[in-house]
Amino acid sequence: MTKFTAFESRLVPFPIDNLDTDQIIPARFLKTISKEGLGDQLFYDWRYDADGKPKPDFILNMPDAKTSKILLAGDNFGCGSSREHAPWALLQYGFRAVISTSFADIFRGNSLKNSLLPIVVPHDVHAELFRDPNITVKVDLAAQTLTLSGGRTVQFPVDAFSKHCLVEGIDELGYILQQAPAIASFEAAHPALINTAA
């Protein structure tokens, strides 16, 4: 996994609460067996017209959006299904972080495992960002800070382990595999109640 480094970017404002994963990527695109090619399907039903042509007034189709790395989203972003295709699609579009006041649990976990950083900010900062989304902000995960225009910094929370994995580029599966002896001892002490192979 590549290391998550600090970056600066403008914001793509998307002021809608409770944006669910069915909007982020509709279920019909989940028939793929690949992780690739999902960026064009991001927000598909909002982004394209009935003929599949990009709607020019949709925020993600505007020229500035394509060079922005941060989605500024409404409350409870990513609610709904467990599809990891949602963070994959956001990443493939070009986002590296999403700022909101809260995230749905599964989406947040899936994002962290793919180096898409969910940044939770207080409501006043959130409102301030929406008032002036044209500013450039700096995201520094190591310092857990968001630097706003004028140099003001806002701290954001992230669990220590996820941060460590992202900043150091550590793969979680490798970490779990190292604990194989502990897993084997647990299994020896806890016989299974089922056997699907039988």
């Binding site: 809608i16 909007q23 279920a27 019909r28 028939k31 649990d105 599966l173 502990a182």
Partner: protein, 468 residues
């Protein structure tokens, strides 16, 4: 010892290791796999040269992109066909039992786990699907995971997890006729909102929950995620043990007795503290229905569609206004009497035999309203066989409904079953997000009773007007 909730007990029983600065490593007792969220995980195993650590604790089936047309038909959608074929091939390669399309045990993953006796009290259960909380009905800690985590569980049978908060949902009192488990959960979600349970695991308790059958408890637990909770469970009791006993993968003989003795220790201790709690009066509930574009936008069926003008928070007001635009509904008007194009009875929420019996009770001897397309989709091939043995299929067919093969069907619109743009459905499924049942489709979520009643009248209907 400090009194603990059932949630904490199951958690503590599954800790493999806890290192400072890292989440707990939690052992997983049952891993359910389906075609949509697993192919990239199997690819990850191949890329690393890993095996599946415990194929004996893993079970696969095909449900999401699986058509509900007769099994003798080929899958017309080539992309879906390739995905289903890939699941079967991966299971063969990694030694996982798969109840594929030709199996008599195929079905929606959350229907077959309990039906086969795989889901048992005290277990940790995961699946790459957010409705995994369904299995919480058995007093299991069951939650949905992403594809990366599916790979972790395949490879190690473990997951790195942070402890959730505990949330007591106490439902006391007796449900009135026509009110069901679906109305309990829709009412909870309407009260606390779709983010109300974020970061939490629900324990559903109280006399109304105790009085529910296992299938009804599954309906309640199923939609925990719709309130933002990753999991929701009901402590096991004799209802639970009676359901599990004798099922294919359930323990037998002395092993059964030992298992039950252990399960009896699971319920929350007297004096255990929850981080949050809420009380619901079951006797005060009415049939619930959603009017908007998330499951929290629900009202008693006799109520009026809310008015955005009454909401002060600007984002909330906009989101309600946007939902009403999408649904093409007027604020302040009743939903009762609103025309319906499609009725869908099925999904991991409401496709079990008792759901079908409820629907049949209303449809028996009646005809579906002309112009309404009614789909009844059993949750599994076993549910289908049972329904046919009881003659329910004939009741549905005689009424003019379509009786189909098992699968997720119109709940997720990725298998050929879907709404056309602008169509309204009354659906027993779990999500009413924009486009969830087909691009441009509009969903009213409700119970099988309400769905069946609306099928007959062709409009949103209070089932209590049709009860004997």
């Amino acid at each position: 010892m400090k009194p603990r909730t059932i949630i904490e007990k199951i958690w503590d029983n599954h800790i493999v290791s806890e290192r400072p600065g890292a989440p707990a490593l939690l052992y997983i007792d049952l891993h359910l796999v389906h075609e949509v969220t697993s192919p990239q995980a199997f690819d990850g195993l191949r890329a690393r040269g890993l095996k599946v650590r415990r194929p004996d604790l893993t079970i696969a089936t095909t449900d999401h992109s699986t058509p509900t047309t007769p099994r003798s038909f080929p899958i017309i959608d080539k992309v879906a066909a390739a995905q289903v074929a890939r699941l079967e091939a991966s299971c063969k390669e990694f030694g996982i039992r798969c109840f594929g399309l030709s199996s008599e045990q195929q079905g929606i993953v959350h229907v077959i786990g309990p039906e086969l006796g795989l889901t048992q009290p005290g277990m940790t259960v995961v699946c790459g699907d957010s409705h995994t909380a369904t299995h919480g009905a058995f007093g299991a800690l069951a939650f949905g995971i992403g594809t990366t985590e599916v790979e972790h569980v395949l490879a190690t049978q473990c997951l790195l997890q942070n402890r959730s908060k505990t949330y007591e949902v106490r439902v006391d009192g007796a449900l009135k006729p026509g009110i069901t488990a679906k109305d309990i959960i829709l009412s909870l979600i309407a009260r606390i909102g779709i983010g109300g349970g974020t970061g939490c695991v629900f324990e559903y308790c109280g006399s109304a929950i105790r009085a529910l059958s296992m299938e009804e408890r599954m309906t309640v637990c199923n939609m925990s995620i719709e309130a933002g909770a990753r999991a929701g469970l009901v402590a096991p009791d004799d209802t639970t043990y009676q359901y599990v006993c004798g099922r294919e993968y359930a323990p037998e003989g002395a092993a059964w007795d030992a298992a039950v003795a252990g399960w009896r220790k699971l319920p929350t201790d007297d004096g255990a503290q929850f981080d949050k709690s809420i009380q619901i009066d079951a006797a005060a509930l009415e049939p619930m229905i959603t009017f908007g574009t998330n499951p929290g936008m629900g009202i008693p069926i006799t109520a009026m569609v809310p008015n955005p003008g009454d909401i002060t928070d600007p984002l909330e007001r906009d989101s309600l206004a946007k939902a009403l635009r999408y649904m093409d509904l007027a604020p302040g008007k009743p939903l009762l009497g609103h025309p319906v194009d499609v009725v869908f009875i099925g999904s991991c929420t409401n496709s079990r035999i008792s759901d079908l019996r409820n629907a049949a009770k209303i449809l028996k001897g009646r005809k579906v309203h002309s112009g309404v397309r009614v789909m009844v989709v059993p949750g599994s091939m076993q549910v289908k066989a049972q329904a046919q043995a009881e003659g329910l299929d004939q009741i549905f067919r005689d009424a003019g409904a379509d009786w189909r093969e098992a699968g997720c069907s119109m709940c997720i619109a990725m298998n050929g079953d879907q709404l056309q743009p602008g169509e309204y459905s009354v659906s027993t499924s779990n999500r009413n997000f924009e486009g969830r049942q087909g691009k441009g489709g509009r969903t009213f979520l409700a119970s099988p009773l309400t769905a069946a009643a609306s099928a007959i009248t062709g409009v949103v209907t209070d089932v209590r007007t049709l009860l004997p």
